[in-house]
């Protein structure tokens, strides 16, 4: 059996904005899924918020928002209905108002009553981000959140992440190359073959690791 991650041991402090970089198949998505409790590690453990274990997953999940590789939204529901549905599952007060508020910053207010199946890839990604943010999470897990977004969308996402980071939200995101979302990164971790090869650490220079990873990706693309 191929191990997606090997010997990964990380401690992420509250309020950090961490970028996970590495080639395809390096284990970034698996690490995010384990952090989101969508996958269980075959060995080892995950602890949240000063030791709250997986057993308390419902309380932990209430504080986590995730943008995954897929959008996690229903094509047969409208943008507003999707957000109302998830707001209800998160037991938010006044889910209708919360859903409508969440659609404003992602620029989908005018399309709020349209079915998601009529949306473009970029609009779906914006809705996926709104879905992740609807419950005002304290921990945000993002798997290549800029995928499908146009330059304006990437800039908006970068500003949104900067605002969330300033407000104390902990962010863990996988990313490729260089883009606007990396502006507020305070720490960068590079994964290769399921192992951590570089970690800028909490006080280090994340952009050195990001630049090194981006150069590696460029070299790999050139070789292909």
């Amino acid at each position: 059996m191929r191990m997606a991650l090997r010997g990964v041991s990380l401690e992420i402090a509250s309020g950090e904005c961490v970028a996970l970089v590495g080639h395809n198949g390096s284990g970034k998505t698996t690490l995010l899924k384990i952090a989101a409790q969508l996958s269980r590690p075959s060995r080892g453990s995950v602890a949240f918020y000063s030791g709250q274990a997986l057993q308390e997953s419902i309380r932990v999940k209430a504080r986590i928002g995730m943008v995954a590789h897929h959008t996690l939204v229903y094509d047969e529901l409208t943008a507003e209905e999707n957000l109302i549905f998830f707001a209800k599952l998160f037991a938010l007060p006044n889910p209708v108002a919360r859903a409508r508020e969440s659609l404003v910053p992602v620029g989908l207010s005018r399309r709020s009553r349209d079915l998601v199946r009529t949306f473009s890839r970029g609009m779906r990604q914006r809705l996926a981000i709104a879905r992740a943010l609807v419950a005002s999470p304290q921990l945000l897990l993002l798997d290549e959140p800029a995928a499908g977004l146009d330059p304006d969308g990437q800039q908006w996402l970068g500003e949104t992440l900067a605002n969330l980071h300033s407000a104390g939200c902990t962010i863990l995101m996988s990313t490729h190359g260089r883009n606007e979302t990396q502006a507020s990164v305070t720490r960068a971790i590079r994964l290769e073959g399921g192992q951590v090869t570089h970690d800028s650490g909490s006080g280090g220079d994340p952009f050195g690791v990001l630049a090194h990873a981006a150069a590696g990706e460029t070299a790999q693309q050139g070789a292909l």
Binding site: Q37, L38, I58, A62, H70, T71, L72, F85, A91
Partner: protein, 123 residues
């Protein structure tokens, strides 16, 4: 969110998406229709015994249709990986199953609103 509340929310979502896509509803309707036709051929409508067994047989078919549609109901969640979206929510995981089971009980009812009365009419 309570188990009942999450189940009701998921049930409402299932019904809303189903009445738009009509994927399972059509299957359920056809299944109930076939059962009604087959039962009407199989049993003598005037027989007192068929009147006694008919409702039970139809309820059996009704529940069987519901359980058959449970798998497609979960397969549908693979589009956009929405099952992961449900699993990320702070709800009891059983409510996902309960909501879908409740919806699958309602879909055949769309085809045969009151199975007992239908069988009385058919048998």
């Amino acid at each position: 969110m309570s188990l009942l509340g999450a189940t009701a929310t998921i049930l409402a979502k299932e019904l809303r998406t189903e009445f738009r896509s009509r994927e399972l509803l059509v299957t359920a309707f056809v299944f109930v229709l076939i059962v009604l036709v087959l039962f009407s051929f199989t049993f003598d409508p005037t027989s007192a015994e068929s009147r006694r067994f008919g409702p039970g047989l139809l309820w059996l078919a009704f529940l069987f249709a519901g359980s058959l549609m449970l798998q497609p109901a979960f397969l549908r969640e693979q589009t956009n990986d929405t099952l992961a979206g449900l699993r990320l929510a702070p709800i009891d995981p059983f409510s996902i199953l309960a909501g879908k089971m409740a919806a699958n009980f309602v879909f055949p009812a769309g085809g045969g609103t009151d199975p007992a009365s239908r069988v009385r009419g058919a048998v």
